[in-house]
């Protein structure tokens, strides 16, 4: 993240420009935020660099347990957890052609890596919270497809992706889950 490299604050992002320039990382951002339960992606929490064509994500303080603690996971259980009003990129997203690629990437993340990332946050969260976060992430990545299938045409979440060329199909629950 450039802010860490330079120590300089970046200008607010423009989701319209980012989505028009490259929808692939924007789709990835939306799926990632839904996975970690981060509703807060207003324009001061991301930056699209027009020179190197990269999307930088800033501030994830409202993700996972956020300000409310473990009870937040119960609230998020069957919800996508992002809204067009607080997520600029979700608001501008046009379609779902990159969904499969990003879902695949998240499913391919090794479980040990997720555990390690949560354990590395031991200064910020206690052991119970770490365990809850790990369980939440491992469980939620398997349900991302169904959460998106339900929300993909919801105008309060994705007002500009109303008639997608690519439609996300729900997963058949009888299919075995897979992850590494």
């Amino acid at each position: 993240m450039i802010i860490a490299q330079t120590g300089h604050r970046l200008p607010p992002g423009d989701a319209k420009i980012a989505v028009a320039a490259d929808e692939f990382p924007c789709t990835g951002t939306v799926i990632f935020d839904a996975w970690i339960g981060n509703f807060d992606r207003h324009r001061r929490n991301f930056h699209y660099d027009e020179e190197d064509k990269r999307l930088y994500l800033i501030d994830h303080g409202n993700s996972l347990i956020g300000q409310n603690g473990i009870s937040r996971f119960t609230d998020l259980a069957n919800k996508i957890g992002i809204y067009a009003s607080t997520h600029d990129i979700a608001r501008e997203l046009k379609g779902w052609q990159h969904f499969d690629e990003w879902e695949g990437r998240i499913l391919a993340l090794p479980e040990y890596l997720i555990r390690h990332a949560m354990e590395a946050a031991s200064d910020e969260i206690d052991r119970d919270e770490q365990t809850a976060c790990i369980d939440f992430l491992l469980d939620r990545r398997l349900r991302l497809r169904n959460l998106f299938a339900e929300a993909q045409c919801d105008p309060d979440v994705f007002p500009n992706a109303g008639s997608p060329l690519f439609k996300i199909e729900k997963k058949d629950d009888s299919e075995p889950d897979y992850y590494i």
């Binding site: 450039i2 330079t6 120590g7 300089h8 604050r9 970046l10 607010p12 423009d14 020179e51």
Partner: protein, 293 residues
Amino acid sequence: MIRSLTTTSSEPSNDTVRCWIVQHIADSFRKESRNVGVIVQRGKAFDARFVGESSELEFDDRKLRFLRHPKVYRNWVRYWRRLIQDHEREIDTELSADQDGNFRVIDGGAINRAGADSIESICEYAFAMLVSHGGLGEALHALELGEEPHVVLRESIAREFRSTGLMGGSQNLFGRNPIVANQSIIGNRTVHEFSFTQRHTSLDLIEPLNLRTTQKRHAKDRAGWMAYAFNDVQQSSKRECEIIPFVIAEIPEQRDEVTEYCLNTLMGIATVINWDDLSERGRFLKERQSAAA
């Protein structure tokens, strides 16, 4: 022309020009700032100028060596430029929102008695006064004692051509009929260099003329030169296509004797575009775009 910079904020109107100063703070602990740009507003019109940017809005990294992270600065400049073009946002709130980073925008007060000057020339003045090292001397030089009074207008036109993708050059290699700057054209008696030319089915010659200048004699001379040069090129026997001259002029609302003289001199020779009339300017740019395609 006499102007003064005051520190009093005021509502933007056509008489008062609002000014913001863009500052870079290299060290957030020491909080020592350096002015790196100005943004000015007159009514609904905005203009801005930043250190290291050419008149064609390209960055010269050699002039950004004082910055530790020039790329971050370039990103901020793009953001501010977009902001002043986006009329839906509350500009005052947006500009003052980022105060605790390495770049911030502060209220620079108002510029009084700007008269009939264009927003571009006011921006040049504010930049010279507040940002570049020249200070007042440079500000006056740019506006009154500079090479020629039409230079600021020519740069403003070049910026407009550049931002609409009309200008030929490294950024526009594939335009079919781009506008080219400073091209020499053979006339009947001699060779003339025109500020802008565009070749398509005809050869269009485009020259700026500042009729608001206090250097009235210069304006008269320039109008006379234009009439002669346009005629000379039109009379060249070697010319195979039609020659169409245009004069882009800044015309004062109260037309004086010199303005009338210049416009009469060019009447029937060139089409005069009033650059301050935004609909006329828009029509002209649209015609250039059709010719370029």
